[in-house]
Every structure is written in C-alpha cells, then in structure tokens.
Amino acid sequence: MQNTNTLQTSNRVLVVGGGLGGIRTALDLAEAEKDVILVDKAENIGGLMTQLDRTFPTNNCDLCTLAPNLSESGRQEHISLLSMTTVQGVTGEKGNFTVSLKSAPRYINLDKCTGCGACYEAFPECVRFSPGLDHRAPTCMRYPQAIPQAYSIELDKCQDIEALVKSCPAGAINPDDLGSSGEISCGAIVMSPGASLFDPSGIDYLGYSEHPDVVTSLEYERILSASGPTSGQLLRPSNGEKPKKIAWIQCIGSRGLQKGAAPYCSGACCMFALKEAMVTKERFQEDIETTIFYMDMRTFGKDYELYYQRAKDDFGIRFIHSRPHSVLRQPGAEKLEMSYTTDESSKLITEEYDMVVLSTGFRVGDDVRDLALKLDIELNESNFPVHSGLNQIATSRPGIYVAGTFQGPKDIPETMVQASAAACLAGKDIASPKKSPDDQPLLPPEKHVVGEEPKVGVFICDCGENIGGVIDVEALVERVGKLPHVVVAQAEGHGCSRESMDHIRSTIKEMGINRVVIGGCSPRTHEAKFQDLIRQEGLNKYLLEMANIRDQVTWVHALQPEKAVKKAEELIRMAVGAVIKAQPLVEHSLPINKNVLVVGGGVTGMTSALELAEQGFKVYLAEKSPDLGGIARDLRKTLEGDDIQAFLGSLIEKTMANENIEVITGAIIVDHSGMPGMFTTGMQVGRQMFYRQIEHGVTILATGAMPNRPSEFMLDECKEVVTQIEIQTLIEDQPETVRQWENIVMIQCVGSRTKENPNCSRICCQNAIKNSLRILEINPDARIFVLYRDMRTYGFQEEYYQKAREKGVIFVRYHQDNPPQAISVDDKVEVTFTDIILGKEIVVTADCLCLSTGLVADQDSTEELAMTFKLPRTHDGFFLEDHVKLRPVDLPVPGFFVAGTAHSPKTISESLVQARAVASRAQTLLAKEHINLGATTAKVDSTRCASCLICVRACPFDVPFINADGYSEIDPAKCHGCGICATECPAKAIQLMQFEDDQILSKLEQLFEEVVG
C-alpha cells in the first residue's frame, strides 16, 4: 500500500540542504533502504565544501574526496534530488509532515542536458555561477563534478533567447520554464542548510572593503583552488603578483571581538587558517612568510594538536598571540601595513604584508533563519536551533532534526558525524519500505571475454591539480597509448566525476574495450566505483586495474616531476600488464547476520544499542565492568547544566528494559573471527569467566577512555590537589568545604599537549569553566585563577567562558616552557606562576589546586581489542577511523564502527551524536540481506593438487580441507582471501583470484620492460 503512490507517501525523509552533511544523511538513509528527498537551493549540490580547496587535517583536495559521494548520491535509487528548490512551509507532525516546496526555474531540462557546455561557450554571461571572486572562473559549473551535471540559465541576462535555445545541441534549454511549486509528504525532516560567513565589510580598521589584498579565508580558498578564479595560482588580487608575506587574523566576527561579532567561537577557523598557511607553503613557495595572529589556538579535535605542531615545527609558520590593531595601506604603497602589540610589550609593532586573510566565522544566514521560522523550530539568540537536553540533533519540534553548521559552528568531520546521527533519528520516524526483488538495478549481461584478444582502455585522471599539476597527463596518455593491447588511452579530468564516468562508459562501448585501466587515485577508495562502472557496460568487475598515480606518485614525488612522470608510466604499464591477465570472476555472497555487538556499556554504547534495538535489531551490549554507565557515573552536570545522573539513570533503565538488548556485564572479549555480516566473537563472562560466543553482523566499539592521572603538581601526594572530576564531586557533595575556600587555582593541560601525550584532551577547558561557575554559585567570594595555555572553549562554550570572566574568574596564560610551580605549605598549596602581560611572578596560596588532567585512551583494553579485532590505533591509543572526514566513525575493517571517547576525548553530548551516527552507519550494512564476499578467494586446480595438506595447515582460518575426492577444497564463502595457501602450495595448484601469479609476474615484467629491453 505504501508504495502505490510514491508522491504521497510520508514514509520518507526530507533532507534540506545538499551540502556535505545533507549528502551524508541522504546516503546513510538510502543505504539503509530508506527513501529520501534531498532539496538544495543551489543549482548543484555540494554546499560550502565545493568552494574549498583542500580540507584539514588530511589536506587533500575536497573535490576529489567529495566527488565520489556526489556521483554516488546521483546514482542512489532511494534519493530524489530537487535542486534550486526551497521549503516554503511545513504542516503536520512527526511521521506525517506535509511540506510545500518551490523550485526556481532553471530554464534547462535536466533530463536532456548533458553538461556539454555549448550554452556557456556561446553565451557566457547568461550561465549561472555564484561563489566568491567568481568573475574570472574558468568554468561556470560550480565545480567540475557538479551534480546535477547541468548548467542553469539566468534568463534575465540574456539578450537573444532564441539563439541561446539554438546553441544547445541537446535541445535542453526551455525559456518557458516557470519553475514549480508543490507539496510533498514525509515522516521526518533533517535540516542541514549550512551556515553563512561573517561579512567583515563593516569593520573599518581591517580595511576589507578598501584593500583588495585583504580577503576572507573563503576567498583565499578560492584563490588557492584549482577551479578558482586564478586557476590555482596564488596571486595578489591588487596587482596579480605573487605574495611574499601573508598574515591571517583569527576570530573575525567570532567571540564577540568586533562590532557585530557573534558571541560564540566558530570552532573551525583555527584549523582552517593553519591549513591555508600550510598549503600556501607546500604548494607555492617555501619562502612565503606566513603569520597567524590569534587569541587562542583552538586545535581541539582528534590529532589536531599534532597538526598545529606540524604547522609550527615542520612548516615554520609564525604564530603571534595578538589582536592586530589595524590594517592600513599608505597612499601609493604596494603593501599592507599591520600594527599590533604583543603580550610581552605594549609597544606598537608595524609590519608589512602583501596579503591579509581574515578568518571569518560562521553565521546563520538570514534565509536559513527564515526557513527555521517557517518550520517552527525554536532558535537561540544567535539563531541556532535550541536543542533538547543532551541531544544536539533534535530540535524543539519532534520529527525535525538538524545537522552540520546550522546546529552549531563546526568542521567537516563533526558535520559528517552529525549527519549520520540525524539519519539515525530521522530514519526511526519512518518505516522501512518493503523491498521487492524487482528493486535490484538491472545490469546488462556480462560479455564473454575469455579467449578474446585483450583490448585495453586506459583512462588517466588529472584529478584537478592533483595529478595534472605535477605531470603532463596528455603526454603520458600518448605514450601509454602505444603499449601493446591498448586500443585507447585518454585523459579524463576527474575520472570519478559523472561526466568522466559517462565518457569512459561510452568509450568502452564504442571501442569494444574488454579490459580497463584507470590511472588515478587509490584502489582502496575508488576501485569499487570503477568496478561498478565497467559492470554497467557489461564487463566483469574484475577486468579492471587501477594504477595509483596520485597517492603514490604525484602526491609524493611532486618535487621531482620527471621522476614522477616516469613512475606514473611504469605503474600504468604494470596495470596494463596485469589487466591483460585478468579473468572474469564470480563474487560470492552470504546472508547477513543482523545482530549487533556493542562493546562498552557507557552512555555511548547504551545509546547506540538503544537506537539499533528500537529499529528492531538484536543487540548484545558487552560491558567489561560489572555495571553499566562507564565514566559518566562519576560526572554530575554538564556545562549547560544538564543533570547527568538523572540522564544516566533513565538511560540504564531503558537499556535494561529493552527486550532487543541483551546486556552482558563482566564481559571480556577474548577472540574474534569471521567477516562483516557474519562475525563470531568469544568472550569470558562474569566472575566464573564462563566462555560464550556471539554471532553478529556488525561490531560497535564504545569502550570509552580513561581519566588521565599524571604524577604532576603533587597529585596523590597532597590532599589539596585534585582533578576536575574530583572537584566536581566536592562541589556537589561537600558544598560547605567549598564555601570556606578563599583561593582556588586551576591548571590546564596537565598531562595533555605535552611531549608524552601531545594531543589536546578537548574537554578540560569547558570543565574548568563549568566548575568555576559552580564554585562561584555557592561561594561568590572565592578567587579563582585558571592558568591556561589556550582556552579552548569552542562553539557555544565560549559564552560560558565570557560569563566566567565577567564573574571575576582570573585567566592567566602560561607558556609550556615556563609552567606554574606548586608546593605544599601547611594545609594549602602555594602556586607560583608568571603573568606574561604584567611580566611578573605571582604567588597564590590556594585552598585547592585543581588539575585539568583530561582523558587518555584506555591503553590496556584498546590494545587488546585492537589485537583481537585487528584494528589500527592512533599513536596515543585511540581507535583510528577509516577516513577522518568522510568516514569518521567507520573503522578501516569493514563492519566495525567506533563512537564516543574510544574515538577521541569529547563531551557527553558529542559522544551521543557519535553513538547515533554509528547506529546509522551500522544500519547501512544491516539493511542488506546479503553480504558480498567479493571474488578474491583461493581456487584449487584439482589436477595439480598433490593433497599434501600444506594449505590445510597454512590457512590462518582453517578453511581448506581434503575432500572425498582426495583434493584440497576451499569454500569461497569461508575464504578470507589472504592468499597464504597460494603462496605455500608446493604444487602451485592454488591461485588467489585477482592476485594470480601471472598477474603479479606480469606487473614485474612490465615494470622492467625498459630496463631489460
């Protein structure tokens, strides 16, 4: 019944905003077999990210990271995409909303447009393009892999409409397009409309409106971008020359620092500036001087502190703790003049710069605010949605969720996590549509290629500047085209873009190609995509080889272009050699086990378990200790004042009551085997340590972190020295003690951001603020000193920081090389520190010295779990995600996810977002009925087998056996594909499909072709 009228069904989710977050939400839902309508007001989806050049912390090009997602979303059968569309109003309630939509006229029929660009060539002024500094952009698609792959027309700018219509070879231009409006139904709405950026025009002393060389960070990003106005050249807007000295000024429009600035911290600008400065050094000249003027360096994300260190130590970026006084340009002068003072001296320093970049913060755009009002969701004074309790994703209106920068200022990884979490919550509000077998996409039958002469097509990406910027792709194509069996070699811009994919497909068809080589990025990330592509053209997926000429050539040999091009050619030759030997292979699949194992029974683990259990999945929740609750058992209140114990109590109650959840306490994981969709994990349970095994399809690690307890500042020696967790208990349980204190000193970064533990613990700054404010509530006369290195109260925490300052908490900065000293004197602690601004040493006799010790990975348990599950960890012992931006809660081993502080230190509400995100990611796997085991399995040639048992003994998984016919048999459904049996087989009777000996030997032969020949 539900499917009879798809337009009217409310059994789907509306995602508003086609930026990275919206795409992630839509993809998660679609992969979980749920229907989505994705609307975006722009002509092509991609949001703000399409304007960025490279993004931290990996500093890779965004377009190439984003592109696969976009083409994937363009393909998804569950997603309907409405571009140039806005939401006009919403009625109804959770489960049954009616949304009125309005689409602006594009004047182009999307079904007909091929994105050929003829209209733009003929009438460049009529074709729409909008990002900053756009007038010199080389292409008027928003970015090379645009989705939909179509232009849009600005009809009012067109003089000769008839000629414009005729210019289109596809007949796609429709000047009579009036746009459309209508209503749709949906069960839940996810808002990810993104944010705008602060406009610094109003701040005179920064000179943004007067001097072209003062740019915002996003504009600077466009200048760096390969598809930007200068085609990726770094040039001064004023005179087109290369800049030699560039400065960044932080906190523009944030932290209430300027006229009209927002009170919060924008969270991402510090990393953004670091990235821009590093990319500047890396891509252009080492000798470009880069200086960052900052208030507090807020590199609080996972491994971000290391990134900061790299910027400082490896790239030589200069950091000045100062708010510049002014940016001026003397009449007739070329350069900008910046004046500032430093902490150490009040003398005004003036320096000359070629360019100044303003790190402008996030704002809620007016259109977004209006949209929110139409949706009737409550906003705070900065126009961000008010969330309910600890759940950041839920708005005040049930059924409407929020993700990304509209929820609060944040960076890409956190946006991606929120997007998945929103998919989890929204997906719960609708039912999964019943699947019919006809839903399978129809693929053409596979062509028979065995015995055919190999006809290889080689497609080489330039990947924007990534490859093309280092090597001459056209010249490479020419040489590769001469290789034996290569019938066509051609350059593809971004091979993974929809346009190029279509191009490759048509080339395969036209030239009758039966084997394909892609020269581009890593098969690790893109092999599946190109396999699908050739399969759509009727070729078996395994008739493909990828030559990794980006990650393993141009990215690492950029300084030696001749060597890079030689190596790229060698790698392609090797790929051609191997693909010629490739055979069509059959993939194996097995039914999936839909049970879930959640390891760790803290708030994160319980939340993930509940989300999945409420969706009908059986969840085993394994907790090492005898009780649920984890570290939250020791916590009382959040910064915002939420009662953690009340929350925890109800969470435990719900968990215990849910009949789909089996809580196993006292559980120690001891062994593990299987593959995604069919894992078996063994654990020893309870005091008797009895052994049980659990079969499950996915595994979620929510094992938490540990409070750090370094032996510093007399901690554990002197009873007046406590940690933030302990002071919190004192405040709540012994207010009379706290009331008697005169002086309290808090020291930040104890045991964090040090040589031994270089990362930031993220939570300590807000803990110090939280506890300071609580102390002042019960003891308004207390004098509180917070000794810090950088106050990292990101996002809305900044407002509490301001409040603490207003209430008289004294914040004193210290340098890492001159830390405070503490000695015990009677029942007090004497703390000595240097006030940098006063230039004086200060001694405070404190009643309590509180150390912000943060969180560290629980090395013992993560190490053991990492060994058992074969998972990688970071240097400091946290689980290492598969991709920090695009797959932030997926672990590299398929079927494994990580959430909460096992990923990195974070607050409870941030952990809860991840908990829901992993629930969403898990559902993308669990929604499938079968798991594809791939074709990389070992195959026995029984005519060669000597039944020697060597494979039987060698297999790490005990798969081979000698069958009734007396030969070794390997069940492809059980084979893990390591190839060890193939290596050890003395009769060479076993080959590992896709990695056969002749393929490997052919690669070697081709590599040395020149050397020998």
């Binding site: 890593s522 990650d551 060698e570 074969k870 390591c978 190839g979 060890i980 000996d997 050397v1011």
Partner: protein, 139 residues
C-alpha cells in the same frame, strides 16, 4: 655510480603497508620515486618466486611490507612473510646476491611517515650497495 637510480619493488599488504603508502600521499610526505609498489592482500601472499623474479627482471632491491607484529589482518601472514624473507635472503646469498637487497618491514596503516622514512632509507641503502649484479651483466 653516483647517479645510480635503483629500482626497488615493494610488495605492500593491502590493509597496512599499502594504506600507509596512501597515507604518506595524503600527508604529502615525499620519498624517492625509486620505490614501486605492488599491492597484495597480505604480505603472506608474497611468494619466493615473486621476489626472485623481481631480481631476475632487474630489480636492485625488494622489500615486503606487512602489518605490525600481531596486527595482521589475516592473523599471521606477516610472520609467515618475515620467515619467507629470511629464507629468500639465504637463497640470494647462495645465488651470489647481497641478501641486504631484500628486506622485511612492518608498518601500520596509520604510519604514513614511517612508510616514507622506510622507502627513503631502503632506497639509500640500495643506492650504496650499487646496481644489482644481474642488471650490470644484462646491460
């Protein structure tokens, strides 16, 4: 000999070493282009024959890169690879090739820096050893 550019074949396991190589890429950590990677699912997949053939074709150095101790995605493929490398080193010695031309290394997926460092060190080592005697004869 000063301008000698060795050709080095690195058999890298998919789950750790190859990923580390990609990681070196995304962190833009340069290393010599002399190193050519052949991806294998597990370092345990590398056959003695693949190694000797590499030398036969003209490699100046070969290394097999697997996961860290105890971290093999396939339980113990990396340990098997390490034993194989020792075995082949002895064979190379018998053949009359310097066993130092072959090496086993272990890298985890996250160690882009280590990958670049190892690639650089091995290239320098092979450069010092000079061209493979096989190649000198063939040329």
């Amino acid at each position: 000999m000063e301008n000698f550019e060795p050709v080095i074949v690195a058999f890298c396991c998919h789950y750790c070493a190859y990923t580390a190589a990609d990681m070196a890429g995304s962190q833009r950590l340069p290393y010599p282009s002399n190193v050519k990677i052949i991806r294998v699912p597990c370092s345990g997949k590398v056959d003695a024959l693949h190694i000797t053939k590499a030398f036969e074709k003209g490699a100046d150095g070969v290394y097999v890169a697997g996961c860290l101790d105890g971290d093999c995605h396939f339980k113990n493929g990396n340990d098997k690879a390490a034993k194989l490398v020792t075995y082949v080193q002895n064979y190379l010695e018998e053949i009359g090739l310097e066993p130092e031309r072959l090496e086993m290394v272990r890298i985890s997926a996250g160690m882009g820096d280590r990958f670049a460092l190892i690639a650089t060190e091995i290239t320098e080592k092979i450069r010092k050893l000079g061209p493979s005697p096989i190649k000198t004869v063939a040329a």
